[in-house]
Amino acid sequence: MSIVKFANVSKKYYGKVALDNANLELPSGKVVGLIGPNGSGKSTALKLMAGLIRPNKGAVTVCGKPAGRRISDEVAFLSELDTFYSFFTVKESINFYHGQYRDFDLDKAEQMLKFMQLNPDARVKDLSKGNRGRLKIALTLSRRAKLILMDEPLSGLDPIVRELIIKSLASFIDLEQQTVIMSTHEVSEIEPLLDLVVAIRDGNVLKIDEIDHIREEYNISLVEWMKRVIV
């Protein structure tokens, strides 16, 4: 039932605490937002789920398995950084991902290219930042991964690209098979997409709540809730 579980997880970087004895359990089939100030531990939490880093203490379980290197078979991770080869064309990047991941769905990739209005023959190095953002999303969502992790998917992109990305998340994710967890600062833009929010500050999980519950119970938006919980 739960897709991600943190049990007493701590992570330090050179003595600086990024996560401090964090406990967290997230259900599958939801869109989850990780919110919190810069440096609160959101990216660290996502990287731990992706098996890209190891905790100093405690255990991270994803899809019922310990999150290590092999977990990338089931987890698609959208990094904040660009991770593709700049000498590839868009089409070649897709073929490369298809070779890398068994769950990569070529049909879906074609649909997503059309939706994102990307030219398959364009070279990655010639793409604008916005178009690289579109390509990154297309590559990530074309995998039929059980868990999709996104670190700041909207950050630094113009409103048109942001809207396209939000629409693609609403249309291309299959929540019967997939779960999405993303960190974001664009809280009010992302809010309509979310089922659950996790508030993090100073490496601690402060609160987990359902968006519908926040609105039903307190009649407030997520931004307002965030101010109350985090500040």
């Binding site: 609403a170 968006i211 307002e224």
Partner: protein
């Protein structure tokens, strides 16, 4: 705010209201098929779980019915649709009257004001 939602009510609830408004206005006709969960999600930029929940509520209100494997359709029960239209009318008038009373207008003034406005247009 994206998708034209307010910030204080649950989104599934606002989606229910939007669909009801479309039906009352006649944009969606009796027996007409609603967009699929996916299409609706894309259109309003909300996640499929939210659309699912809104459709389930509409079904509970007997406004739509889901036919297995075919999709979700506006009810063909004309009585229910007339009732829905009346219900919406009363709700709006109730809020209007409450607002007016709160500002200190009496029934006479409210009626006169309405008549004046309606004959102007």
């Amino acid at each position: 705010m994206t998708g034209g939602f307010n910030e204080t009510q649950p989104i599934y609830y606002q989606l229910v209201q939007k669909v009801i408004l479309q039906i009352v206005r006649g944009d969606l006709k009796a027996g007409e098929k609603l967009p699929s969960v996916r299409e609706m999600g894309g259109q309003f930029k909300v996640n499929p779980n939210t659309v699912q929940r809104a459709y389930a509520d509409l079904e509970r209100l007997n406004v739509v019915e889901t036919r297995r494997g075919l999709g979700t359709f506006v009810t063909e029960d004309r009585n229910r649709l007339t009732q829905l239209r009346e219900q919406l009318k009363h709700e709006k008038i109730d809020t209007f009257i409450k607002d007016m009373q709160e500002m200190g207008f009496n029934a006479r003034e409210i009626k006169d004001g309405l008549n004046e406005h309606l004959s102007d247009n």
